[in-house]
Symmetry: C2
Subunit: 212 residues, 2 copies
Amino acid sequence: MARTDPEIGPAPPATERGRRTRRKLLDAATAEFGERGFHEASIASITQRAGVALGSFYTYFGSKEAIFRDLVRDLSDGVRFAAAQRLAERDLGALDTERAALSAFLEFAREHKEIYRIIDEAEFVDPQSYRDHYEKTAERILGRLRIGAGAGELRDDLEEAHAWAIMGMNVFLGLRYAVWADEDNAADGAERAALAANSILAEGIGPRPKTS
Amino acid sequence: MARTDPEIGPAPPATERGRRTRRKLLDAATAEFGERGFHEASIASITQRAGVALGSFYTYFGSKEAIFRDLVRDLSDGVRFAAAQRLAERDLGALDTERAALSAFLEFAREHKEIYRIIDEAEFVDPQSYRDHYEKTAERILGRLRIGAGAGELRDDLEEAHAWAIMGMNVFLGLRYAVWADEDNAADGAERAALAANSILAEGIGPRPKTS
DNA sequence: CTATAACTTGAAACATGGTTCAAGTTTCAA
DNA sequence: TTGAAACTTGAACCATGTTTCAAGTTATAG
């Protein structure tokens, strides 16, 4: 669990004013990175959006990469937190939980395409955060699978690879039916995607036994 | 089917020498982009690897983006072609075909991590190629599913979303167990991944009927 | 109050690397 | 043989945008 990064940039803000400014920069950066991508984004534009002088940026972040890294970690935590909360609301069976998780994710991706994009771009800008994000997400999924297996609602031989498979399904369905969707049929597409995924999880793709 | 891009850059090489040089640049670019990513990569370094003068680059490609675009299309075609060939060798049942496809993909990704990376980075450098790649791939998968359904080996209600779900599984398993694998247990991990995916497709994740 | 730390400012320094170009060399058809 | 088109060359141009910095302002502890 040791921090890999020995170079720790600027100290955290000591005053309320400082924290506010830092937050403004982070929010501005979310918009900027989300709209233009990491490389197109400019620090000048971020500080402008934040209503802050260019130089102030370096009071809070050591570099363009640094703010991106912080951002990805923020967003990654936020996404997982939102999802967990959403699932905690109701107590569902194992398969329904997975369906709900995917639905929540699709809805979230539809509302916050920028976030989706930022996290994905981390694969190239800050690979470590990217790995961390998906590893943590896979762990969450695996945790749910284990609970389901314990309750006898799922197979009892599910392991890491199954969690990654499910995560991959979800991510690609999100890309196709949330991020790339035309706004018109977005909700509809998301619905079909969720059903398709769930039916695979429920019964696989093999031939259906004759309708009982 | 109209070409979206009216600006067509340099004309294709007219002589054998020209075609050779262009190919050298493309190969060098594969290595360069694969190792350093699009933005870290430099044209100077590409021409150096190719053993060609800097200026020659612009005889064949209009810009850094242009060569990247060409490259992605090349690689995308190559990957699909290799996969198709591999599957055509033997005539397998529908489920075994999917397993074979995933195995082939994992092996390929393990051998050519650069290619995997380049195609993925296209999401940010040249979104159109990225979409094209995955849309074509999903179509291939859907085609296989339809054949399987026609033969009564698969459910007959499989549609686009199912293909995307399967593709997502494959891509993420590839990321985790081929691209990120430590070389030691790579082959083993890939094997388990393929089994996990196939078991989901075969029977879902629901509880197993008591072992007959 | 007041001294010090925290924070703000924006112009200027700086680095990088994509792109152009004018001059040379090779190829090849007529 | 010869002239034009295809190709090669690498130095110089140039745009861009990150980072630094020294001077000013605001907050806060003693």
